[in-house]
């Protein structure tokens, strides 16, 4: 799998802690710690940027540029505990800038994406998980696009910065929390659960 371990998400304090630790080691002169940080966080940045609607190729560029910015201005991240938020916010703002600047980049809707991706789960996934994921994916597809984007971000990003999320989703910052809750409830409804 390309996820390099457990996905992010609010339960993933392990990812957050590991990223904070790697950043701290790098800042104290341990060069290979940057590799650890890159390998931990690049998949997270991928999902954060893809949630803005950028195509895969542009997303790869944005992820690379985000790391270049960090290396060139790493001193500006004073608090190691802020590193995941700094990276995700920088990536999201760069994605926003790229998609605004380039008219030829049309956002790819998840519906298009779903139609192009194979339905098969990865071979190592057992039958139960496959059924769950297919059901979950169907449920996600029935949600409004804004809900899907927001849920993808909060699922992958440790402790997201709501103001930059609000910018890319073009929503008032105060509505992110309530929208998150409403989208989760809608998803439960689509899954046939009591909201």
């Amino acid at each position: 799998m390309a996820t390099h371990g457990a996905p992010g998400g609010p339960t993933s304090s392990a990812l957050y802690d590991a990223a904070t630790d790697a950043f701290r080691r790098w800042r104290t002169g341990e060069e290979p710690a940057l590799d650890d940080l890159v390998r931990l966080m690049s998949p997270v940045l991928w999902h954060v940027v893809r949630a803005t609607g950028l195509d895969r190729e542009s997303t790869e560029d944005v992820v690379q540029n985000t790391w270049l910015t960090l290396v060139r201005s790493g001193d500006s991240v004073r608090d190691a505990q802020a590193i995941t938020r700094w990276l995700c916010t920088a990536a999201r703002r760069e994605a926003w800038r790229v998609s605004k600047a380039s008219a030829r980049l049309r956002p790819v809707d998840d519906d298009v994406l779903a139609a192009r991706m194979p339905d098969e789960a990865s071979p190592e996934t057992d039958v139960v998980t496959r059924d769950d994921n297919a059901q979950l994916w169907d449920a996600l597809e029935r949600l409004p696009e804004r809900c899907r984007k927001l849920l993808r971000i909060v699922a992958w990003e440790p402790r997201p910065d709501y103001s930059s999320v609000a910018d890319v989703l073009e929503m008032p910052i105060g509505s992110i929390g309530p929208t998150r809750r409403r989208c989760l409830d809608k998803l439960r409804g689509e899954l046939g659960e009591q909201a």
Binding site: A2, T3, S42, P43, Q64, L136, W137, R152, W156
Partner: protein, 163 residues
């Protein structure tokens, strides 16, 4: 039964990881790009000193492949690099290298024209100066060698060669 927010979001994260995964070489591409950024100096070009096809004479079109096939030696102003390309499991090709004298070094393997370092594979040389790409990319490639540390030797690049 109601799934908790955390369980639900973890499932959502997995679903996206499965349906729209990050490219497997995403992090390698980032690392290659970082390694070459801000390099004011041009890469010094190694020269090919020697190429030995240890396969010569034994290869047959439909015959069994033997292991070691090509050994290359490159030399720059301060060190040499020996490279051996051999068959690995299946269709894979393996690239083993040695830096002489041994020094901590970062190695990238990629196509010659890859200016953005998008598709390079990366490795570190160990204490003995040895590095490896167990599943090296095929086709025309070159190696970029970036000595690590403050008193580092200049970065080198090899001429293109075939894997």
């Amino acid at each position: 039964m109601t799934t908790s927010d955390e369980e639900l979001l973890t499932a959502v994260a997995s679903a996206y990881a499965e349906r729209d995964p990050a490219p497997v070489d995403l992090a390698d591409g980032v690392l290659a790009r970082l390694a070459v950024q801000d390099l004011e100096t041009e890469f010094e070009l190694f020269t090919l000193v020697q190429a030995v096809d240890t396969h010569a004479g034994t290869r047959q079109d439909d015959g069994p492949e033997t292991s070691a096939s090509v050994a290359l030696e490159f030399a720059g102003s301060t060190y040499r690099v020996l490279v051996r390309i051999s068959d690995a499991d299946g269709d894979a090709r393996r690239l083993d290298g040695w830096v002489v004298p041994a020094l901590p070094i970062r190695v990238f393997l990629g196509p010659p024209g890859d200016d953005l370092a998008h598709t390079r594979q990366s490795a570190y040389a160990d204490r003995d100066g040895r590095f490896e790409f167990p599943d090296a990319m095929r086709g025309e490639v070159r190696l970029w060698l970036l000595p690590q540390g403050s008193d580092a030797a200049p970065p080198f690049v090899t001429p293109p060669f075939l894997v």
